[in-house]
């Protein structure tokens, strides 16, 4: 009694969230693809085989201990070897393993067969975001964490999908075999979406293949599953499965949006417009390292506030954002952001947190710089 009281006083929290525990699932997800369901079935079959083995082995052991107890005068029988028993305890596990290998092999062969896919999507891991390229569709975008920094620092209540929400979903059609080509830009990442039963390493210089055919429309969330640096836990995956018709509509809309963004690069932007847009881009793309207050996390991530680059020559500032800096975590943002976003974020960095250059960098300036660099490359 005294013990129970001590335990319940010391750990009152363990008794409280009983209602939460009812929804707390620890088992594998059955998922939404044929493969994920057969993996789930295999998992459950093997689980019950393990339970049966455990019951038999521990049952015999406990019965033997109890039945041959010392108080009944049991005497240990000393012998060194028993070939027949050894053969039996080798053959039985062998039989069980072969029996489990048969269905497991059938599923594995299916998993590793990405032939005849209706859609190819290249997935590239970056520190710390994912890039999705719809091959043959001329569509390509980055998917960044959408959870606000205030929720991470507990200055705001955490939302339902805390750290599992992104700005742009990977939209995929249902009832279509989709092949994923996985690679990475910097370090090893791993693209993991439990509901699709896909968990594959994304390795720089390698292309790994995986595939999924989604049966039900819905939102499926996942995460990077290979420790990849500071924000490994802040690069979630959100797959949005829609019907093939809706997917076609989405493709058209996404391409129109891309064209509109290209169009917007040609008009002139005011300083206020650039600052407003730049703040959004900064918080989504730059703040993870350089921090929302522009003070960075030195020495790995330098401050932008009063930095020689952010208040110095604008050309050097544009170049470092476009091309990154070799040997540091500073990435090349040339392909990650469009000219408007690049112009806006550079303008923002030059005029925020007391940096007061008053300069507005125009999208055409960025486009010219990129064009000039490409000209030199040729």
């Amino acid at each position: 009694m005294g013990m129970i009281r001590i335990i319940s006083r010391s750990f009152p929290l363990t008794l409280l969230p009983l209602t939460a525990r009812a929804e707390w699932t620890v088992n594998l997800s059955p998922g939404v693809t044929e493969i994920s369901r057969s993996i789930y079935d295999l998992h459950m079959t093997i689980f019950w085989i393990c339970v049966a083995i455990g019951c038999v082995v521990f049952g015999i052991m406990f019965w033997s201990i109890f039945h041959h107890r010392k108080s009944r005068g049991a005497k240990a029988h000393h012998f060194h070897e028993h070939t027949l028993v050894e053969v039996i305890w080798t053959l039985i596990p062998l039989g069980i393993l072969v029996a489990m290998a048969v269905p497991a092999t059938a599923t594995l062969v299916k998993m590793y067969d990405p032939k005849d896919a209706g859609l190819d999507v290249q997935v590239t891991g970056y520190q710390w975001k994912w890039r999705y390229q719809y091959l043959d569709q001329d569509l390509d975008f980055f998917s960044n964490l959408a959870t606000p920094q205030e929720q991470v620092t507990n200055d705001q209540a955490k939302s339902e999908n805390y750290l599992l929400e992104v700005d742009r979903h990977l939209v995929l059609p249902t009832d279509t075999k989709i092949r994923f080509l996985l690679t990475a830009n910097d370090v090893i990442h791993s693209w993991w979406v439990p509901a699709l039963a896909v968990k594959k390493d994304a390795i720089p210089g390698f292309i790994n293949e995986a595939w999924a055919q989604i049966d039900e429309p819905g939102i499926y969330r996942g995460q990077c599953a290979e420790l990849c640096g500071k924000d490994h836990g802040f690069m979630p995956i959100v797959v949005e499965a829609v019907s093939p018709e809706e997917f076609q509509q989405w493709l058209v809309a996404a391409k129109a949006e891309k064209a509109a963004a290209a169009e917007a690069a040609n008009r002139s932007w005011t300083l206020d417009e650039l600052m407003q847009r730049g703040e959004q881009v900064y918080l989504g793309t730059c703040a993870a390292c350089h921090q929302a207050n522009g003070e960075g996390l030195p020495p790995a991530f330098p401050a932008l506030k009063n930095s020689p680059i952010a208040v110095g020559d604008v050309g050097a500032h544009i170049d470092i954002v476009l091309n990154g800096k070799t040997g540091t975590a500073m990435q090349a943002f040339r392909d990650q952001l469009d000219p408007v976003e690049l112009a806006a974020v550079i303008t923002y960095e030059r005029n925020a947190w007391g940096n007061s250059t008053g300069e507005a960098v125009s999208p055409t300036q960025i486009a010219d710089r990129i064009g000039a660099a490409q000209g030199e490359g040729n």
């Binding site: 070939t83 080798t90 092999t105 062969v109």
Partner: protein
């Protein structure tokens, strides 16, 4: 002649017991007394090669069954 055959046969049994992982103490002692190390090495390598070939065929057969 039959003596030599018998010796190789015993070596084979010894090697296969090793592969399986179970061998009686009596046979093990006999092997160490009467067998020659080079026989065990030759038969061991041969059996290992056979095992690899067996696994290759097993995989091919499994793949052909699943139509891949």
């Amino acid at each position: 002649m039959s003596h030599i055959l018998q010796r190789w046969w015993r070596t084979l049994i010894g090697v296969l017991s090793g592969f399986f992982g179970v061998q009686s103490e009596r046979r093990r002692e006999e092997d160490f007394k009467e067998g020659r190390a080079i026989h065990f090495v030759v038969v061991g390598l041969l059996m290992a090669a056979l095992f690899v070939i067996f696994v290759i065929f097993l995989v091919r057969w499994a793949l052909s069954l699943s139509g891949a």
